[in-house]
């Protein structure tokens, strides 16, 4: 059952605001790396059965 008629997604940038030692590029590309890993794992699982 839907709980809302409309949603918007956002990236949480709060850690970058609170921790000056976090590298901005590394933080952002980390999301992309995890996305890539997710796609890779799911695809490999289907191809290797």
């Amino acid at each position: 059952m839907d709980q809302s008629d409309a949603l918007a997604f956002a990236m949480d940038l709060t850690p970058l605001a609170l921790d000056d030692t976090l590298d901005v590029v590394a933080y952002v590309t980390g999301f992309i790396d995890r996305f890539k890993a997710d796609v890779t794992a799911k695809l490999r699982q289907r191809l290797e059965r």
């Binding site: 059952m1 839907d2 709980q3 809302s4 008629d5 409309a6 949603l7 918007a8 997604f9 956002a10 990236m11 949480d12 940038l13 709060t14 970058l16 605001a17 609170l18 000056d20 901005v24 952002v28 999301f31 992309i32 995890r34 996305f35 997710d38």
Partner: protein
């Protein structure tokens, strides 16, 4: 507060003094272009709309000079288009009951120049004056270079603030690249329904402005506006969304 660009504009819809108006801001949106805030920061706009204690403030960084000229604006000069877009953004601030609307009026090339510190310094002053609890800006994976320049400036400005003055939540929002690819556990979900009349009013403004921006921006990336379809219609069941993160500092009622 003295902004660095002599043509910058601080508009206070209810006529309060700028210092008082900025200080009440709890939710601040910082966008590149005149129509970005109503699209990406509607979560904050609607949260503050009926609140006695929460106020939305807007910052638009560029001057609108690059807007395309079609229809009745075909013969408008850059200066005339900038005046039109500035007035449109003021009107959105009235409709959305913003605490303040700051238009920094920089050329895009200045915003995108990493050697030019004017934007960052203005943002430091605005953030210091307002000390918002929540900040909405562009997401760093956006495809528009000026959007990326703005979020970079926002992060740099926040990092110049004393820790106790920094916002509790900073969100990078969707404009020119969706974020549905984010891993579910890391995806912040903003519920943007519940104020259909406000959405429709601001939607009309965005739709109007958007048509003129067609030549400036990539086509086909932004969903066609319509009532409540500024935003993604929910198609996910509650079970699936249990794995998503709702904005932790949400924004209050609405």
């Amino acid at each position: 507060m003295q902004l660095r660009n002599s043509s910058a504009d601080i508009f206070i819809p209810d006529g309060k003094a700028p210092e008082e108006a900025l200080l009440r801001i709890s939710h601040l949106g910082v966008g590149a272009h005149q129509d970005d805030l109503e699209f990406m920061a509607f979560h904050g706009i609607q949260a503050c709309y009926h609140s006695e204690s929460e106020w939305f403030g807007g910052v638009t960084c560029t001057n609108g000079a690059g807007s395309s000229r079609t229809g009745s604006y075909e013969r408008f000069s850059d200066a005339e288009m900038m005046a039109v877009r500035r007035q449109e953004q003021r009107q959105a601030a009235i409709v959305g009951r913003y605490a303040a609307m700051v238009q920094l009026d920089y050329a895009s090339k200045i915003v995108k120049d990493p050697a030019d510190a004017h934007l960052k310094e203005d943002l430091i002053d605005i953030l210091s004056a307002a000390q918002p609890r929540v900040v909405y800006t562009h997401n760093p994976a956006d495809k528009h270079e000026t959007h990326v320049a703005v979020v970079a400036g926002v992060i740099q400005a926040i990092r110049e603030l004393p820790k106790q003055q920094r916002p509790q939540a900073v969100y990078g929002c969707e404009v020119w690249r969706d974020l549905d690819w984010l891993p579910d556990a890391e995806k912040v979900v903003h519920d943007v329904c519940g104020h259909e009349n406000l959405a429709a009013a601001l939607n009309g403004f965005v739709r109007f402005a958007d048509r003129r921006g067609e030549a400036l921006r990539p086509r086909g990336d932004r969903p066609p506006p319509g009532q409540c379809d500024l935003f993604r219609k929910s198609r996910r069941g509650s079970e699936r969304r249990a794995g998503l993160r709702h904005g932790p500092h949400a924004a209050g009622p609405g």
